[in-house]
């Protein structure tokens, strides 16, 4: 939805070449999908070097695993899954899962948004990004994949590795939390 059109057929060809050790083909894939994966990681981790590290490690892991990649999913979907898993692990390690109804913790410094970088952002947008920190890792992942990346519930279930029913619950709770957090901005 929000992402650029996916040249899936050409991706499959390049992924096959990369799996056979063609590093030029892999570089094309990294350049093609890096920006959208960085957006995903930034939404999940709050931006900064953590997001860069997550995407970098995800691509290196992909390079190592490509010889076993059978193309059951598209390369893009496969990468979404690797990046999401890495981000979830990092979020889980960062702090214990906050119950949804708990008061949102003040955003950690890396979540905070410097006024200069976001001069063009409205205050509401800044508030929305800050509010994301109050979601549990899985709620955040499901909601971001849905709202910022336009994935279907089915694709989110595959990407996050939870059931369709669980995705529905996570997205509902995320929406409950975020509509409340953003109430003052309406």
């Amino acid at each position: 939805m929000a992402d650029e059109a996916e040249p899936a057929a050409d991706d499959a060809l390049l992924a096959a070449r990369a799996g056979e050790g063609d590093e030029d083909a892999f570089e094309t894939l990294v350049r093609r999908h890096g920006p959208v994966l960085l957006r995903l990681a930034s939404h999940l981790l709050g931006g900064g070097t953590d997001a860069e590290d997550a995407v970098q490690e995800a691509f290196v892991q992909a390079w190592r695993r490509l010889p076993e990649f059978r193309g059951d999913a598209t390369f893009r979907t496969w990468m979404y899954r690797i990046v999401t898993n890495r981000c979830l692990n990092q979020l889980r390690a960062r702090r214990p899962t906050a119950p949804l109804d708990a008061v949102a913790e003040p955003a950690a410094p890396e979540h905070q948004v410097s006024p200069a970088r976001t001069a063009e952002n409205t205050a509401a947008v800044v508030a929305l990004h800050a509010a994301l920190a109050g979601l549990s890792p899985e709620q955040r992942a499901c909601w971001v994949l849905r709202e910022f990346h336009g994935l279907s519930y089915e694709d989110i279930a595959h990407t996050v590795g939870i059931s369709h029913q669980a995705v529905r619950g996570r997205i509902f709770r995320a929406r409950r939390y975020l509509t409340e957090a953003m109430e003052a901005w309406r």
């Binding site: 070449r17 960085l38 931006g47 410097s114 976001t118 947008v125 519930y153 509902f172």
Partner: protein
């Protein structure tokens, strides 16, 4: 939180669950149910969700990259620096005469054969495997078999395409590498209207 925990789907005063109302928004079915337009509770719930959606849209419009967005180019450079330390050259293939000790790695030969196939207009090469013809011969010297997968534009017919690619690969084996190729299998994966030729680095066609 437990997976089997009942969803606190929160019933609205009209009896509808908030979760159902919001999911019908996802499915785009709110317009089909007259209840939504007439019910103040459902309307308010949908307005809340719509407002949240507006914030998301604002976020996209204000900054396609989220705050503190990282640099994609820097990440690509770092990824490729690591990848080049972890190359997968594949098996060694014998070059020249049986008593020589000259070899080429499979990845390098495959790169040459793919480029040879792509020197034809409207042809893209995918998987390329090269293996010794004698079964179980390991790294022993002897002729090899090439299997190459290609995608091409519809201006090609399959037999003409297979012949043309086979001819290019054979010539590259002979003239560019000096590899004893005795069998060339061409797999035509797909014929497409127009080839997406954007941003590939090593194309020589057109």
């Amino acid at each position: 939180m437990a997976l089997n925990e009942p969803l606190d789907s929160e019933e609205l005063p009209c009896g509808r669950s908030l979760q159902d109302v919001w999911e019908s928004w996802d499915e785009g079915t709110t317009g089909k149910d007259p209840h939504y337009a007439s019910c103040p509770h459902c309307s308010a719930a949908l307005a809340e969700l719509r407002a949240l959606g507006d914030f998301v849209e604002q976020s996209r419009a204000a900054a396609p990259e989220p705050p503190g967005a990282p640099d994609a180019r820097a990440v690509t450079t770092r990824v490729m620096d690591i990848v080049r330390l972890e190359l997968r050259p594949g098996r060694r293939l014998p070059l020249g005469e049986p008593d020589e000790d000259a070899w080429i790695v499979e990845a390098a030969a495959a790169k040459t054969f793919r480029a040879a196939a792509e020197s034809l207009p409207g042809v893209r090469a995918g998987s390329c495997r090269i293996e010794p013809l004698g079964a179980g011969s390991g790294t022993s010297r002897g002729p090899v078999r090439v299997r190459l997968a290609v995608t091409a534009e519809l201006t090609w017919t399959v037999p003409r395409l297979a012949d043309a690619v086979r001819e290019r690969v054979a010539r590259a084996a002979r003239e560019a590498i000096g590899l004893d190729v005795q069998a060339i299998d061409i797999e035509v994966v797909d014929l497409v209207d127009t080839m997406d030729t954007t941003d590939t680095t090593d194309r020589r066609t057109r």
